[in-house]
Symmetry: C2
Subunit: 220 residues, 2 copies
């Protein structure tokens, strides 16, 4: 039964969450957010992953919201993209204030309007140090608010909230998710830079999971 | 100290919430939502009320979100605006799924980015029958999620959550809020129709509060 609206960034994590939902026949639609990203590569990746699974890819334009925030390296071209791990202090520059909270609640409305009953988010343990609205206690609180706000019509599913990216990569591989279509890089190029924080995490995840990395990185 | 970001629809309730915040010197900015309303009259009213208080009026364009929802008489021109009280079953046609939840979380991000520490919403008791995300238990849950999602930077203030519209009108009058600038009507005219659900509530609120109604309604 199609119950799930999957938040699909086009990255490894959300693609694997979609693979799980598709695996049990629950995937009903995907939703991707345009919040004024510096480049379009991840939205393209999301569209291709949704196409792979034969699902609609709804695009929610939150550019206006991004404009009211400013100051994150993900939306403001004047802020340099940090190189390094998620847990590095420099990664705080990638925080979009209350982003995940906002996306979850917006997605719940879309789920309700489309007769879907579950919003799926791929937040994972690697997000916790820097992004407060990706931590387990937040997810529990957001689920409670979502269920009250929708009179029980829509709930929240966060299957990877305590998983590492390595465990997610292994799960994606197991489920034959199209990981080669996914996009992680925070830089604006046409292929992965291999150096930024998310590329670093991506490379490690494939290596530690012991699975082939289908990604093409810039030659070094 | 300027701590408050006030969600300002341009109506009686949010204008009175702003008057409270201004009265104690806490009002820092206002935020209004363009989610694809059928007409612009309420955004104009919000801009004028903010101007009255000498505050910025940020406008968040959620038209794209409205397009993904559809089906509410507030955003879909094919659905007729119901006439009657909020509590009437017909008013369920005005439900925008999870609207308040989404606006609160988006506003919390904007507050954080602008060094404000409190989101103010004017939800009131009259909203409870039809809008689940305006009820006290939802507000408590949303506050909890907001505080976790912002690491305690931003909290939620809902001063009227158990008040009637009549009590709000009296409070606005007491605080010399510019109630004549506010807009309630769900129809698309240049002056209040005096017949739709929100006009009906507005007329009653002024009458029951025993204060002059500065509103011009269409002659009947």
């Amino acid at each position: 039964m199609k119950t799930d609206l999957v938040l699909l960034s086009g990255g490894l994590d959300s693609t694997t969450a979609l693979a799980q939902a598709a695996d049990i026949g629950a995937a009903g639609a995907t939703i991707s957010i345009d919040y004024g990203q510096r480049h379009r590569r991840e939205l393209e990746a999301a569209a291709r992953v949704a196409e792979y699974y034969g699902l609609p890819n709804l695009v929610l334009d939150l550019t206006s919201w991004g404009n009211l925030l400013g100051g994150s390296s993900l939306t403001d071209p004047s802020v340099e993209v940090p190189h390094g791990h998620y847990a590095d202090p420099s990664m705080s520059l990638t925080v979009v204030p209350n982003r995940n909270a906002t996306l979850l609640m917006a997605a719940a409305g879309v789920a309700w309007a489309n007769d879907l009953t579950r919003v799926v988010t791929a937040v994972h343990a690697g997000d916790h140090p820097v992004y407060p609205d990706c931590r387990p206690e937040f997810i529990d609180a957001a689920r409670h608010a979502m269920e009250l706000g929708t009179e029980g019509r829509v709930t929240l599913h966060a299957p990877f909230v305590t998983w590492t990216k390595t465990e997610i990569a292994a799960e994606g591989h197991r489920l034959h998710a199209p990981l080669g279509l996914t996009w992680s890089c925070y830089e604006g190029g046409g292929i992965h830079c291999g150096k930024c924080g998310t590329c670093t995490e991506r490379i490690e995840a494939f290596r530690e999971a012991g699975i082939p990395d289908p990604t093409v990185y810039v030659a070094r």
